[in-house]
Subunit: 191 residues, 4 copies
């Protein structure tokens, strides 16, 4: 079973998720700059979610470079990841609509955590299929960034009860950490 169609389907779903979020930025009727004021939190929410989803696509792309085959479990884990990511437009809209209030920020954390967990499950399914000597295994076994992200989301959720901006700061920090191009898989491939 080859990987090209799972890549194509994932690309399609992720491309749509990343793009339909912009539909929440509805054009106001007035043409004054202040008419855009209410859109500022929605825009920030969109910007954040665009980066998150784009990072997932980026990591997915990197990881599948070293993938040679897929099986039913990989398809299942990939489907779960796509489902979690598909909830991003909803939590993005809810968080932006309510100006980063506590509950929407918590729900964003939960969706981010579930996405991170399902990505990890996808990683496990791929490693099990390719064996412990594979390039894939070597490339992602010390997935420090992944572990840090999952842990960060995990602690960010309760911290929202102190102040939701703390959680937002953690989410943003994780995103910035990932924006630095990922060298892990590239390095292993080079050796």
């Amino acid at each position: 079973m080859n990987k090209s169609r799972i890549e194509a389907f994932s690309d399609g779903v992720i491309a749509i998720i990343v793009t339909i979020m912009v539909l929440e930025l509805r054009a106001p009727h007035g043409s004054e700059w202040r008419d855009l004021n209410e859109l500022v939190p929605k825009f920030l929410s969109y910007l954040f979610s665009f980066i998150v989803v784009w990072i997932y696509w980026n990591n997915h792309h990197h990881m599948f470079q070293t993938v040679q085959k897929v099986n039913g479990k990989v398809l299942l884990a990939n489907g779960l990841l796509l489902f979690c990511l598909s909830l991003q437009p909803f939590v993005t809209a809810w968080m932006g609509e309510n100006h980063f209030a506590r509950n929407p920020v918590i729900l964003m954390g939960i969706v981010l955590l579930l996405s991170a967990i399902s990505y990890t499950l996808l990683t496990f399914a791929l490693i099990r299929l390719h064996g412990s000597d594979s390039v894939l295994k070597k490339a992602i076994e010390r997935d420090r960034k992944g572990k840090i992200s999952t842990f960060a989301y995990f602690i960010a959720i309760p911290l929202a009860f102190i102040h939701p901006y703390i959680s937002c700061g953690i989410y943003a920090t994780v995103a910035i950490m990932w924006l630095v191009p990922d060298k892990r898989i590239e390095n292993v491939l080079d050796n």
Copy 2:
């Protein structure tokens, strides 16, 4: 005539169908957890339909692994399948909006049944084109899951007159049956 573009177009349409359904989950204006209450049936409806459409993509992907060529009839049957699947967002929204009331549940059953029938027509068109000795024919001739699904949808529709939750239970059972990774085609390919 090669199969790559029919795969690409189907991937595109299915990816869009599976993703635009989430647009029905409109973010509420309030930020209380109870503001999400009214979204619960819509979310369950979306979760169910995501799984159904993802299973179709999955089966489509499996089946086209063994496909070597396509003709006009295959394109037609594939178009019919995509049309039936494209009605999924509408029935999903109607069923969620009305908290799994009888009529929307019946219409969901009809759309599910029509999708199953059009998938079977696609199977027939592919088998006729590839001949009765083909790998494809061997792989899908004993399509027990497909027959069970069609039959289950067929009886689920009238059972909604007793109670729509019976039908919903049947739909969910069929979906869970398919989530177990499909070994049929893989097995034949291995031998």
Copy 3:
């Protein structure tokens, strides 16, 4: 310059056009069958447009089977075709919303005519690039169906002033004519 990306982009745009039209079928709040009554003309309008756009994808797919290269003019003609097709969701919604009233039916005819003309321009651009001895040229030079369609749309527009249903009947007849699988290009390729 190779053709794979123009195919991928066209597949993407056409897949989105064909699918977002279903968003016009908004789920009614009530769960009675009669609540769906007002959706019947919208559904028929959607069914018609799905078939039209699918036929364009189908013909595009057939034609590009024989294409070996593309140039700037081909890209331009293809972009014009995609723009005309992208107006389909709007005219479909307007026609369905207004129960096939005269003006929307006329506008539908104009969009259909413009799409047919831009498809013909794409054909010309491809033939000029491939030369008059090419397989492509032989395959599509006697494009009877294309000429009939263009002519039919041309006369259907004024006939809407007698009654819009006459025009609708002509549009439907053209669509049915195309649903019969296209043998032209396949035949030439077989010889």
Copy 4:
């Protein structure tokens, strides 16, 4: 790291951007021609943005013909470009909704300018990766059209304070300049 998936993802995102803009053209309830009057500026805005986004796809397609590899910086610059383009539906809707009023026209100029700058960054990232002797470098080093566009957007923004139609005229002129098929890369490849 190969380029096929970055092309597929970009094609997907650009195809969605170019298509969802048409959702702003909501079908009016009336069926009179005058009911379309209010849509005229929205249609012109859509037409303009369709051309702009299509030109970006076109240039992206041309440039990636000569690309042999991608790295993290290329992915980042590409992501930035896609983000800027994803704002196009919003500014298109705002500009159309407000009949080309000054502020929306200025914001359109800013988004156009940011898109042009991020495209230039993508170019730089690709040239640095491929080296100064590459075909890519030769093909795009005298990117006159790109420089003219960036400069034109830059001066169009303040000119909106005299009259927004001046800016609109400049935007339209830039778009028309690009619609003439791009010979640069094709020429270098031919030699």
